[in-house]
Structure formats: C-alpha cells, structure tokens
Symmetry: C2
Subunit: 705 residues, 2 copies
C-alpha cells in the first residue's frame, strides 16, 4: 500500500512537472504579463512584462531561515495553480477619490518543498497598473520559523534613473538623490544626513517606495503593501547594478522575522506606467490591503489644523518648561518649584492665541506640543519612563484650554511624543486615550524621536512595527485618529484602519528649519513616500528666512510661497497643517486665503502632468462641493504649466483664482514674490501658469451659480 | 575671586583628606564593626568584622561605565560622613512574626570623583545581624550613565563551605551543591541541569542568596534587597577563590543598567551569625525595603490552596485541550471545531471535584492551570501573542465555576502563564485583572516559562525585572495578590508591596516529578531562596512514586510524607499549597489533618535548630490562636530532634500531635512510613522526635482549655 501510494505520487509529480511548472498571468486589460516558473533547482521565479517590454527580468523568490540549512530557497515543486479574477469598487472613508476600483487577475501558486514537505504559496495579483505578490504559509506542521533574510528579487533590465534615499533601519528623513542605479554606491555616503536615530544599512541599500525611470520612458515603483507584524523591507542592489533583493530590518539579534503559520507576508508591489502620472494615480497599495475593520467610521474626519509647533522647530520657543535641571523624574520632579525658562510655548495664554487664530480662519484644530511634563531630557538618554502623556506643565491648563477651544468651535489635537520608548507608551496608552476622550481630543500626533526602546531594536523591525499597529488599533477602540511621526513608512494600511489619518515617515517641512531640503523634494515625495499613504508634511511656510523667526537660526526654506500653496493639493493628506506662525500668515492674508479654502477630502483626482524631480500638477474635486482645486510643485527649472480644464463639468461656469509665482520669484532669493489673479473658466478653458525654481501654484475653481 | 575660591577649596581638601578618609561604624549591640576607607587610588573600600573576626576582608566598590574610561572606580575623595541611628518596630501584613524590629546604625559616605566632579554616595546600615549597603547618586549634572559592570567586592577570609547554585541569567531552578569555594569551578558544569530557559554565566558564577559557613563556625549569607529597576546580581568568584565580585545580569546588548540620577541601587546584604538559626531569624532583607506603599491592605489574605496542577506536572493530564493542531492563533483558532484530547484537566466537572474537596477540607482556594486557550504551543516557539488571559477553553465554564465555588465558600485562584512574553502580558494586563475582579479571583499565579520576550532579554535583566514590578504594582491597583513563578528571586520587596504573596524563583516541588531533587534540598532553601521572601514551594506530596500517578513517569520524590508536613512550617509562606491529588490525600487522611490545621500566618517564630544541608526545626505561633506548630525538614542523615518547648506560654497546657517519620522510614524506599502520636505538653516539656533520611516532622500544639 505504501509503495503503491509512492508510485502514484511519483507519476503525478512527473506528469505535473512536465505539464505545468511554468504559468503566465495577464492583467485585466492585457497590458501586463507575469510569468511564474521554477528553476532547475526548484527555486520559484517570476518575470513581468508591460506592453511587451520586460519590466522585471527573471527574479527568484524564497527565504533564508535561521538555523535551517534547507531554508526555503529551492527543491520546490508546484502542486497547484489557482486562477481567479476580482473586480470591486470600494468607498474609502477619506482619500484622493470617493470611489476606488480594485480590479485584478490572481494566480495562487501552491508550492511544496519536496525534501521537507513544507508548503509555501505565492499569491500574485496582476492589476492594470502593476503587480503585487506575497508569500503565504498555510496551516501545516511547519508552524514556526525565523527569517534570516527574505530573498525576493526585483531584477531590473537596465541602468535606470532612480529617486532614492539611503537604506536605514531607523530613519527615512533623508533628502532624495537622483542617479542611475550604477551610481548609487558612490553617492551613498553623501546621501546620509544627520538624524536623532539612524542606522544606515550599507552602501548599496535603498528604501522603498523606490521610484525609477527607464531609458525608454517607463516608470517603475517598488514598495510593499500591508506591512503588518513583519519587518520593513529595504532593497539591496546587487553587484550587477540591476538586481535588487529584499533586505528586511533586523531585530536586536539580527533576526528578520518570527513567523507562525498560517500567515501571509506583506505584498511586494511593482507599479508600472508609461506616464509618471500613472504612478500617482495607482491605488494598488490600498487595494492590496484589507477593507476597513472599523465598522462605524463616522468619527473619522479629515482635518485642517494649525499648531504650537513651528516656533519650537525653528528654535524661537521651547518644548521644555525649565532650564534648571539636567534630568527629570516624572512624579518626583516638582515643576512648581522650578524656574520657568520663559520660552515655553505651550502656555495657556499663548495657546488661546492660536485657538483664536484657528477660529477666526476656520481651522478644525490646534495641535500643541510640549504641553506635558518631561521635555527637559526627552530624548538621547535611552530613558524608559520619559512621559506619562497626562500630566501638564504648570502653565498649561488642560481644562481651561479645552473649554476655551470648545467655545470657539475648535478641536484641540493631542501630542504624544514617546521618544521611542515603546513599552512606556503602551503602558500608558489606555490612560492617555481616556484622558483624550475626557477632554475631547479626537486626534493625536505621536512621535518616536531618538533610538527606540527596547534598546537595540530598530524603528522598522517587526517588534516595533507591531507596536505602531497596536497603537492604531487601540486608538480605534477609543475612536481616536492617529498621525504617527518617525514611525515606519505606511503601506496602505489606512484602508483597513482609516483612523490612521497621517504619518510622517519621510523628510518633512521641519528640515527646512534644520538647514533645508532640496528644492525639488516635494516633486519626488508623491512618487515615493506617498505611495503608501498620506504624509503629515506640514506645508504652508510663508517665511523662508528662518532667522526672521529666530535670529539664531540661519536656515532657509527652499521653496516659494506659491509652492507652499500648491502642496495642499499635490501632497495629498486628509490631515493638513498650516505650519507657519499666525504672525506670518497675517502678513500675507490674500495668499493665506487659498489655505483657508482648500479642502482636505476629495471626490475626484486628475493627475495632469508630472515628472519626478521636475514637477507635479494635480487637479482635485472637493468631496463636498462642486469646486476644484489645482496644485503644482515645481523643481529647479522655471517652467509654465499648460493645462486643459476639461475635467470641469461641461456647461458649468467657474471662477478660477490663481495663486502663482511672480515672474521674478525664486526659492533662493525671492520666495515671497507671488501673484494672485482671477479668471472665469469652463471645461473648454486652457490655463498657462508660470512656476519659478522651487515654485508652484494653487488654483481654486469655484462654480459661479 | 576665582583664585581665592580655589585656595579655600584646596585647603579644605587637604585638611579633610588627612583627617577623615577612613571611618568606622558599629552595630547597635557592638558585635559588628564596618570600616570604610579609600585606597591610595581613591577607590572606596570596606571591611566587616563580627565579634573581632573578619567576615569581609578589604573589598572595593565602584562601577565600570559604558563608553566611559574614567568610570566610577577611583579618584574619589570623601566629602562627608553622616552618621545616624534608627530603631523602629513595624507590623507586616503577613509574615513569620507580627512585629519586626528594624534597628541599625547608619553611615552615609559622600564621595566626589575629583577629575569629573561626579557625586557617588555610599549608605551603610549596620544591624545586629549584618550589613547592608547601597550606592546612591544624588541629583547632579551627571544624570545618565550606563553600567558596564558593578564592581562590588565581597572578600572572604577562607575557603568557606558554600551552598550554591550555578549563576544563570534565566533560571534559578537548579539543585544546590555544597562545596568549598575552591571547588566551585570544578563542580560547576555538573551543577547545571536542564531548564526551558537557561543561560549559565560562567564556571565561577553563583547566584544569591549565597549561604556559607566558615571553618570556625560562622554563618555568612550574601544577597541583595530592594531589587527595583536594576538587574539582578550574581557573584563571580575570583582566581583567589576568596573574592566574590558582583556580576549583573546583562540586557540584550550586554549592558547591565541604564541609570538616571537621582537614584539608589539595591542594597547589598551580608547577614552573619554564630548560629545557622541567626540567618533564618534575620529580617534585614525586609528592613532594607521601604514600608508598604499599599494603604488599605485588608484585601491581602494569607491563603492555603489546592490546585488542578500536579496531575499536569506529573504528565497524567494536560494543560492543552487538543492534540489536533501544531500551533494555534488566538482569536482565529476555533477550538469548538477541534477534537478534545481527553486529558484536559481544567474542565468544569473536574474543577468542581477540586472545589468540593477544598470545601470539604477547609481550603481557601483552588488554582486551575490550563483553563485558557493557547496551551497547545505555549512555550519554546518565541511566540509573541501566546495567551490573552481571558478566553477559556470550551470545556471550562468560567461563570459556572465561579458560582459553584462561591456557593461552596471557596475562592478560585487565577493562573496567568505568560510564556515569558512580557509585552503581550502587559498589553492584556488591565483586561485580565478586570476579568479577575469580575469573577472574584483575588490572587493570580503568574508564570514565565521559556525564553523571555523581547527576544534576547533575560529573566533577571533590568528590563524584565521592571516588568515583574510593573505587574505587582498594577495588581495592587486592582487589589490582586501576585504569586510569580520563574520571575526574579525576591529581595524583600513584599514589605513594600505586600500583595506579592509568593514567588517561585527556585527549584520547586515540581522537579520531584521531573526526575527528583536532592533529599536535603529543603534544608538549604530557607538559607538561600527564602532570605528574600516566601516561596510557593507547593509541598504536600504524599505519593512519592510518580508512576502511581502517571505510569509513564518514573520519577521519585526524594522525601518522606512526614517531611512534607514539616515543610508547611519550615518553608515559610503566606501562600501554601497542598499540591498532591485529592485521591492521594484521601489515602492518608490522618496525616492530611496536619495540612488542614497548619496556619499560614504567624505571630512568633522560633528557630529551634538548624544546619544548612542537614536539618531545620522551627516553631511558630499561629497569629489567630494560641496554637503553636513545629516543623522539621531533615537531610540524609537520620537523627533525633531534641526540643525544649520553653516557647510555650508558661502555665498553660497543650496537646501536641506529632506527625513523624516511622523508625523504618526512608525517602528512597519507605517514604510513606509515618507515625502520629499525641502528648500533653507545657513550656517545661521536652520532645525528642526521630527524623529519617529525607524526613521531617510536623507538630501541632493546641492549648487545652
């Protein structure tokens, strides 16, 4: 009987091996073709073509496992191919459009490692805008394993132009470098700036989302989707300057992932298009995530806010209350006995000024940083019990500010800096969220500045990614929206957990006050960082000469004022800050009007023109009115955007207000030169708008009734 | 002005240096003398004598700091000596006696490291039973530092006999070895048994409390007190076989402690006596802890209990519910679809049998292990989300059992195995404790089997010790008593947090079902493990032939039945289990009577005779009656205890019931041979009671009204 079974199995195997170890999958529109195969050694492989052009050449898949010589690299046979198709349209709680189509053809490849009988499946989903695939481990005796490295390859076909930041296990806050793949190694050291926590991975490692452009004009974007309970993926460029291989963030012991079947890894994504705008229009990353797990989402609200923040970032004010002590011990240090330093911004009177400004100009909320005790030694000391998230400084009246804001129709926005002390934050999470519920805060900006605790872990390791997710889910229990700074880059999880309304996870506007970012920075971010989800970029800086805010800070913001307006459209986020000081807005109230008018939730988005590193122009229709808004961010070359307004509803008349760079504007020496003009337009209109180096524009298009 | 100041300072320094760099301190009764000094290099030193005999020879103090060449080793000057005396009597919530005297002379040595201006103080407290000292760092600019190693020395004066277990960062569950100090290295490898988590530290490392006896009959005990937010101390024996140096438990990165001034380290303790019983009678460890931080302690109740436990330990029953799956995922695995394995002990009917037995015999509580989902893959997999502490198996009716127990006047005792997954436990702690409150559980046995998470941390590192303390304090908020197994050895913290009513932290009775412990094990534990606090040793095993409980288990318990009775007195604990199966107690109901009668809280304790490794006899007076109980645990040599009952109240008459080994009893081949006799006694009576190898006895002495 035993022998008989063996014969049958062997026969099946040979028949199968001959017939069907290679399979192809096409996208719904037929433009993409993905081929799966097994190498002679039984290593899974795939390749991807787009309109007949190879995008990903033969690339292998698998894992090195810890203390497991066999690992999951070869000796596989395919035991089944299940093909299916899927087409749905779902409605996000917030987003760039009110309806999202999720349409793909799928192939599930069932693999068996012959010598070990381990099952590893590969699920490929081919959309009209690219490929997503992941590893799946069904329930089996092979339950527990530890990943030494994921061996997913992405083999490029040429020396593409890439828009990259250096791989790092602890920060994503680097300026982008634009270079050929073959130039990455030599430019790598220069691509690493200073950060409060950083662990560069090697001279050939880059981060995702990685944006590339081929010599023949194809746009390729590599990233991941649904990064949950797994470590974040970096890409390591091979010696051939063509082949990227996944490089997971290690834990403190160098291990990359503790796994238990049944499980699915995050998706690996390859978005491809003939036009740069195809990349911006892709919804693949969200589509590869699960539908919302929050049933009642009525409490999740896109928000425009100001904050007691830029004055600390520029160094004019301080987060901390006193300069009298080198270190504090929460619950033991009595602040009322200490001398205030006189620069503490989060004091009741000053916060009320911000509330007044918010109320006057119709902002939804006011963020206040530095309101709670502990900022005197808040990072850099590997301090465990660094904040308790509920105890205010003596000059911050929680109750009074709550009442005052309420009377003005403004929401206070909470701030939880954790200093990377994740256990401490988790210990206080319920209390902190209960405190928020009590005082009517419905959103919190979290922060993870400095090295994370447990010590030796990394910002993007499985252990810490699990923490961020824990906070998001716990926040949902309390109906709280999360905007996490210094956390792992988003991967579309906001579809599943739409209370994650923002993330930083890249070099934000704050770096303009720390020495500056490259002038074309915001023409790249939508192709990289924003692929995974919205960014709390905090635009709206009207005073680029930072010394005018703080004489001791000689930084200069590398953008024009009109550029800042355009970002409210080009840098999609349901959470948008007007980051500058009220005093600076008061100097330019005509331009400020655009920030007041621009919505934070959209029905339709049209990606009019784009070239990473050069320019981006996007038109979006307000979700709650017939108005449209157009935004542009420009790189270093002056140019004129030529737009057809054919996206407007036919037969309707609109008034366009154009907030543009003046002809002599320049991010470096004339950034505040802008021009506001109005023009009646229809769907037949065309508009030419000039943009200066580091410039941009914002246009509001309001229906004339 | 600057120069003038300097001159003054210099003059003061020289005057001071000559006059007072060495100081002595005497104990209240004058028996002890401690001398503090600074070496020529400015290294702090101390020595200790007892009745003129040197106990600790010149020993140095200090720290190696991480990335700090200067560290805290030398270059110190003494800038002040503050002497004081203290005498109080406090009343513990529970204990070996109802009043504890805390009487010491203190010397606070203020030190300044000249080149760095760092302040490090040493606080010495000299009691009539020994010395405690700790390091203190006052508030200063030198706020943050990382300990590479603590350099506290304990220099012995000879090749003492030691009762030791191998140093290990993850387990204390070793059998004791008795040897000379000079023999430790060669016996070390053989002293290490198997454990689910173990990290032996080196061939010359031992754990505390370390018990020693000198050639001239002095008893010396080294341990620590108030181990809070610090890593547990091991002792490393120097090449000279005389000098122990502290060896702290490292974190995952090899660091020993992250510190912030102001701070105090745990106390280092040296208990000394002419008699072994002096060590048992010492309250120094408790006295060096802070008074209770729990104001209302009325809910803390000494408890005698039985449990659904020994049948799993012996392998007769199982914690897990099914054998059908290799691994489970909480919330996803549906147990109702899985086939029960038929050996799951924590099922409602069976638990009710235990409740009936507890009610019949007057026990306070019933512990049930394996009641909650997750035991199928509970340890050994580095599993993060291993238990949720609130979801029962399908055959365990939480509500029904709660009601049934209540109707019988019995408390259910909760069990939280964490599998060392500390983050997961903390995440569920509030919910788990709320669940306990709801179902009227007021005590929980926690467990930390297997390697701890975060991965790479150790059971006794600062990070994990902080976790145990967090649980104790959180439990106090919910009025819950904690009995932590596999946690760090206690250090008298129960004075401050008297809801910590038990700990394992040593080789418990369970090892008798895992192959056996040495027959004299319980004659050593009171000198070592119990110095820091009570142990949930789980005595009361009446059936030593484990194969009679489970035919597949050939273990043998190395003790007599009478010995097990004696342990209820000799192994002090406010939490005492009768660990055997009801069916075994039913076979020996006359002996079982002693377990039913013996109290778990005491007014007075008299340490009648003791020799570590040989025998211990203790008499204790019930806190709630006039009754006395005497217990004995004997080593391998048969002997007769000769007791004067002069501790009884003069003029009163008592009936003594003596549960003793029969003459032919022997732990190996005749362990159940016991003899029960009664005798009228008074304070003038003397009793001779025979004890067999591995034997012992229990005596109840009840006043005749």
């Amino acid at each position: 009987m035993k022998n008989f079974k063996y014969v049958i199995a062997a026969l099946m195997y040979f028949a199968f091996a001959k017939a069907s170890q290679a399979q192809t999958l096409k996208s719904p529109n037929g433009d993409f073709e993905m081929q799966f195969d097994l190498s002679q050694e039984g290593t899974p492989q795939y390749q991807l073509t787009f309109n007949g052009k190879t995008v990903i050449a033969q690339s292998s898949l698998g894992f090195d496992l810890k203390n497991d010589e066999k690992s999951l690299k070869n000796d596989f046979e395919a035991t089944g191919f299940d093909n299916s198709t899927f087409d749905e349209t779902w409605e996000p709680v917030w987003g760039e459009e009110s309806k999202v189509r999720n349409h793909y053809n799928e192939m599930l490849v069932s693999l068996n490692q012959k010598a070990t009988d381990r099952k590893m499946n590969l699920r490929f989903r081919l959309f009209d805008d690219g490929l997503g695939f992941r590893y799946e481990f069904p329930k089996q005796e092979f339950s527990y394993f530890v990943i030494e490295e994921e061996l997913t390859q992405f083999t490029m076909t040429g020396d593409h132009k890439a828009f990259w930041i250096a791989g790092d296990f602890d920060t994503q806050e680097y300026d982008y470098t634009t270079s050929k793949l073959s130039e990455i190694r030599k430019l790598h050291a220069g691509a690493i700036g200073d950060n409060a926590s950083q662990t560069p991975i090697s001279p050939d490692g880059v981060q995702t989302a990685l944006m590339m452009k081929t010599a023949d004009g194809l746009y390729i974007n590599l990233h991941e989707a649904a990064l949950i309970d797994y470590s974040a993926m970096h890409l390591k460029l091979g010696e051939d300057n063509r082949t990227f291989q996944s490089w997971l963030t290690p834990d403190n012991n160098g291990d990359k992932g503790y796994m238990q079947s049944p499980l699915s890894t995050p998706w690996r994504t390859i978005i491809v298009g003939d036009e740069a705008t195809d990349i911006l229009a892709s919804r693949m990353t969200y589509n590869l995530n699960e539908p919302s797990k929050i049933e009642d989402t009525s409490w999740i609200k896109p928000t425009k806010y100001i904050g007691v923040w830029w004055e600390m970032i520029t160094g004019r004010s301080s987060w901390d209350y006193t300069d009298e002590i080198p270190a504090i011990q929460l619950g033991k240090t009595d602040y009322t006995e200490l001398k205030p330093n006189g620069t503490h911004a989060a004091n009741t009177d000053h916060v009320k000024e911000y509330i007044d400004f918010a109320a006057l100009h119709g902002f939804d909320g006011v963020l206040v940083e530095g309101w709670n005790q502990g900022w005197e030694d808040w990072f850099g000391h590997s301090k465990d019990y660094v904040f308790d998230f509920v105890t205010p400084y003596p000059d911050f009246d929680v109750e009074g500010i709550h009442e005052y804001a309420k009377s003005k129709g403004v929401k206070m926005i909470m701030h939880h800096e954790t200093s990377g002390s994740t256990r401490n934050y988790e210990r206080h999470l319920d209390t902190a969220f209960q405190f928020m519920n009590k005082y009517d805060y419905d959103a919190v900006k979290t922060g993870y500045v400095g090295n994370v605790l447990p010590r030796g872990e990394h910002h993007y390791s499985q252990w810490i990614n699990n923490h961020y997710q824990y906070v998001v889910e716990k926040a949902a229990d309390y109906e709280i929206m999360i905007n996490a700074h210094e956390a792992v880059r988003p991967t579309g999880i906001a579809r599943t957990w739409p209370n994650m309304i923002g993330n930083e996870s890249a070099r934000g506007t704050e770096f303009q006050a720390f020495g500056g970012s490259k002038p074309n920075h915001t023409t790249i971010l939508p192709f990289t960082r924003l692929i995974g989800g919205p960014m709390d970029y905090t635009p709206g800086i009207f005073e680029m000469d930072i010394s005018k805010v703080n004489p001791e800070n000689n930084s200069h913001g590398n953008f024009t004022l009109a550029n800042q307006l355009g970002l409210y459209v080009t840098m999609y986020s349901p959470l948008q800050m007007a980051a500058d000081l009220p005093e600076n807005y008061n100097r330019f109230l005509d331009a400020f009007q655009f920030i007041k008018d621009v919505p934070v939730d959209w029905e339709i988005s049209k990606y009019l023109e784009a070239e990473p590193g050069e320019y981006i122009t996007i038109a979006r229709k307000d979700k709650n009115s017939s108005s449209w808004f157009v935004g542009n961010s420009n790189g270093t070359t002056p140019r004129t955007s030529q737009m057809s307004l054919d996206f407007l509803e036919k037969g309707k008349k609109y008034m366009a207000t154009i907030y543009a760079d003046a002809k002599n504007a320049h991010y470096k020496d004339n950034p505040q030169a802008y021009k506001i003009s109005t023009k009646k337009v229809t769907s037949k209109s065309k508009l030419d708008v000039f943009t200066a180096p580091g410039g941009g524009f914002g246009i509001s298009i309001v229906e004339i009734q």
